[in-house]
């Protein structure tokens, strides 16, 4: 798979629109201003994925949502444990956090809201109809979690395409990685749609 300049620009635009809307929704949920980084579009060797957020043995939380419809893929929200705690405190507006079940439920809801907003913006922009799955979660070593998240895409591919944005929330400097990973076969369709069919 190759990614020329034009295709990269198209994907950056998709990520920008999706992440912008997700940031607005996130801000509405926690009541703090959210800043986001300029989205990065990268084709990476699947071997490098486990260390994409830093140390592959770092303990992280990951919320995974699959989307499907005219194009399909995955959304991953990745947060290290320090930031999970900050985020939960913002969501619940208290330092006195409720039990694990409520915490997981809140994180799942966050995943739903962010991916819903991201996908809706892409729907509006591309006129594609996309549905999202219920979130799945994992807490563990970054390498173990990240490698397992995309293992179904690695059957025939040695590379994956990542659209990456980082969100930083409020004074707390809460950091959250957001990855949008379209399935390879979906990409051609996306390019055709967005470039008015001018891609061969």
């Amino acid at each position: 798979m190759e990614l020329d300049r034009t295709k990269k620009d198209i994907l950056k635009e998709v990520a920008n629109i999706g992440a912008g809307n997700a940031a607005t929704a996130f801000s509405g949920m926690i009541g703090h201003e959210i800043n986001m980084t300029v989205p990065k579009v990268e084709l990476i060797d699947i071997q490098d994925l486990p260390a994409i957020t830093g140390d592959e043995e770092e303990y992280i939380a990951c919320i995974m949502i699959n989307f499907s419809g005219e194009i399909s893929g995955k959304i991953l929200l990745v947060v290290d444990m320090e930031n999970v705690e900050k985020m939960l405190k913002l969501i619940f507006s208290t330092d006195d956090l409720p039990g694990k079940e409520m915490q997981n439920s809140a994180l799942n809801e966050l995943g739903n809201i962010l991916s819903g907003a991201y996908l809706k913006a892409i729907n509006d922009f591309t006129d594609l109809d996309l549905d999202q799955s219920v979130p799945a979660m994992a807490y563990d070593m970054a390498g173990a979690v990240l490698s397992s998240s995309v293992i179904d895409y690695s059957q025939t591919e040695d590379f994956i395409l990542l659209l990456e944005t980082e969100f930083v929330a409020g004074k707390e400097k809460l950091e959250l990685f957001y990855f949008f990973i379209p399935e390879k076969d979906s990409l051609d369709f996306l390019f055709q749609r967005l470039a008015g069919g001018s891609f061969a």
């Binding site: 995974m64 563990d140 070593m141 390498g143 397992s148 040695d158």
Partner: protein, 167 residues
Amino acid sequence: MVVLPSSDLVAEKMVVKMADHAIGDENTVLATLGLGSCIGIALYDKFSKVGGLVHIMLPENPGGKKTVKYADTGIPFLIEEMEAAGAKKRRLSAKIVGGAGMFKSESGDSVMKIGERNIEAVKEVLKNEGIKVIGSDVGKDYGRSMYFYPDDGRVEVKSFSRDLITI
């Protein structure tokens, strides 16, 4: 108290990435970090002290793909490489680590079954090669790092869920 793997005391550590492999001798430690649904397979010939480690991701090579990414092509490849380094196939034994189901839905159900399929495939391939599995730490729902010491064949497994174990 945190117990560090004894690899921290060994001179030459070779880290094996996903879909990769390495061969070592008694002066090395072969490590692979953050195994989730993937499986690390350590093969060992205790007479020549040749050790091999392969980190596979999936059960079956669909054909023409990277050899060491799949159990069915990665394990035979590792055996050949070890024989070239002086090991004898009939003396090899295996220790396997990984094959977890990492993601769960809110109701607690595991959402992907690839870890389980990997465990089955690895056991099947080893059986067909006539190599006995003498140690394993597989399945369940947590990530693992493994450290394989060809000086005596031991494998240490590190996980957040429990203490360091040796298999």
